[in-house]
């Protein structure tokens, strides 16, 4: 009898060697790797994470990305170490036809897995929500009626007007002048009111950590507070036509006194243009051009483009 003589039925002697504690081995391999990775991410890589720390919203995003990287690195390290360990320790050996031990129904592993993954996901959800609320929307567009507003007085209002293929900026608190350059004071809350005159664009002030869609006929509010002076690169982040990639603007964060001087001089310099602008509004109806076209036609003038105001416009005369 095989059982009686200590031999397996097929004549192969069973392996009575004590199985090592693989879990402990993997843990001991994983712990220093995860620790080193997290320390490197937090202290070395973190301060260089995008989009930098030029504003409170950018700094918030930078810390969020760092925290997520710190949480993700141990998970990734565990997966990689487990994979490498399995390839080495549990690789196929000549004559070894035996299955591994079944883990189905192992309550301890199941509970541990569910508890750990739930803790990671739920903690990230709570953390993400807090981080969104704390810095007044974290630089994202909040729509026309923002839920989260910055505390500490009324912010500087800057209207961002997108059109193919340029951003312009209107300053309603300084007479409503409109410029092609973005200028902001350091240390003050800024409220961007973002809209479009034609198709959908997206206002992305990279270094400020601000990104808000620009929709025609809609106002999209985003907040930030620049913490350092410097240059800001503004890009369109929504494919908007042939020159989308070239729809960029250089913005500047300057001292409060420099901003005040700039605003005062620009207000005077653009006074003649400002008189021609429509009254300040949170949105501008692109179809109002057809109203102008009607008056234009009634004046007996012919249209540029040989008839730009096509029959699709309801007010076409």
């Amino acid at each position: 009898m095989a059982a009686a003589d200590g031999m397996a039925p097929d004549g192969i002697a069973p392996d009575h060697r004590r199985e090592p504690n693989h879990g402990l081995r993997i843990f001991l391999l994983w712990l220093p790797v995860a620790l080193v990775a997290d320390l490197l991410i937090w202290f070395v890589w973190g301060p260089h994470m995008p989009p930098g720390a030029m504003s409170n919203s950018a700094a918030s995003q930078q810390s969020d990305i760092t925290v997520m990287a710190v949480m993700a690195a141990p998970v990734m390290a565990l997966v990689l170490i487990y994979g490498v360990y399995a390839l080495i320790v549990w690789r196929y050996r000549e004559g070894d036809e035996e299955d591994g031990p079944p883990i189905h129904g192992n309550t301890r592993i199941s509970v541990t897995w569910i508890a750990v993954t739930s803790a990671i996901v739920l903690s990230l959800a709570v953390f993400g929500t807090v981080e969104l609320v704390g810095p007044a929307g974290a630089g994202a567009g909040e729509g026309n009626t923002p839920i989260w507003r910055p505390s500490g007085g009324s912010p500087l209002q800057v209207q961002v007007i997108a059109q193919q293929w340029r951003f312009t900026y209107r300053y309603p608190q300084f007479g409503g002048f409109e410029t092609t350059s973005l200028m902001l004071p350091v240390g003050q809350n800024v409220q961007f009111n973002v809209t479009s005159l034609d198709v959908i664009h997206s206002f992305w002030a990279y270094q400020l950590g601000v990104k808000a869609d620009a929709n025609p006929g809609s106002n999209n509010v985003a907040y930030t507070k620049p913490g350092h002076t410097g240059n800001v690169q503004v890009r369109c982040a929504e494919l908007c036509g042939l020159w989308h990639a070239d729809m960029t603007t250089a913005g500047h964060v300057v001292s409060v006194s420099a901003f005040s001087a700039w605003a005062a001089s620009t207000k005077i310099q653009l006074a003649a243009l400002t008189k021609n602008l429509p009254p300040y509004s949170l949105t501008y109806d692109p179809n109002s051009v057809s109203q102008l076209g009607k008056a234009f036609h009634q004046a007996g003038l012919s249209g540029a483009g040989g008839g730009y105001y096509g029959s699709q416009y309801p007010v076409q005369p």
Partner: protein
């Protein structure tokens, strides 16, 4: 099917695909309007353009009904249907735009402001202008010539009428002139019209507004 027939079929199919790829690359990617080269004389360049409501089918066979710019060749004096031109760096460019189109209100009045030119001024038939009201019944603007990379914007004066057989030479037109300095940095600087004048396209922004040779193009700055 015999082996020779299968090999022949494979070769024919391969050649057909290669031919199609070459056609697409040559026709759509490498094709396009020509570039008019302006050489500096005494550190200055004279660029003459015209705008037309539409063009004759012989001069613009692809889209004769589209509004379009033309550029005058400094070598032959002929009007070239293109919006691509090349100028030297560090050079003063004198631009003359002959307006053979009508007028239109700009969608954003900010483009009624002259900027980026020498003295931040342009001239309508010799009369200096800095801020042009394109609304309120005055209708002075037909298109704009803008190079965003240089913060240059010039509203082009409306013409007394429209010419539909561009390039036009014997009709009344407006004359807009201005000068600007090309930058030291060589490269392509896109320019465009900011009046959405693409007839029959959504909000006027399609067609000629997004096609080289019509209402947008490139200024190539070379050393």
């Amino acid at each position: 099917m015999s082996l020779p027939a299968r090999v022949t079929t494979l070769i024919v199919a391969f050649l057909a695909v290669v031919g199609a790829v070459i056609f697409v690359v040559a026709h759509y990617l490498l094709g396009g309007p020509p570039t008019v080269d302006f050489a500096a004389s005494g550190g200055q360049v004279n660029v003459v353009m015209q705008t037309d409501a539409s063009s004759s089918p012989t001069s613009v066979p692809d889209h004769p009904t589209w509004v379009s710019y033309f550029i005058k060749s400094p070598v032959t004096g002929a009007w070239v249907h293109t919006t691509l031109f090349q100028v030297p760096a560090h050079t003063r460019v004198h631009v003359t735009i002959l307006g053979y189109d009508g007028s239109t209100p700009v969608r954003n009045q900010v483009w009624g402001q002259v900027s980026g030119t020498v003295g931040n001024v342009a001239y309508y038939s010799g009369k200096p202008v800095q801020t042009v009201n394109g609304w309120n019944g005055r209708y002075l603007i037909q298109h704009t010539f803008a190079i965003p990379g240089l913060n240059l914007n010039v509203p082009v004066q409306a013409g007394p009428g429209t010419c539909s057989t561009g390039p036009c030479t014997n009709k009344a037109h407006s004359t807009t002139t201005f000068s600007f300095e090309t930058p030291a940095q060589t490269g392509a600087y896109r320019w465009q019209c900011f009046v959405p004048c693409g007839l029959s396209f959504l909000d006027g922004n399609g067609g000629p507004m997004q096609t080289f040779g019509y209402m947008m193009g490139n200024m190539q700055v070379v050393s």
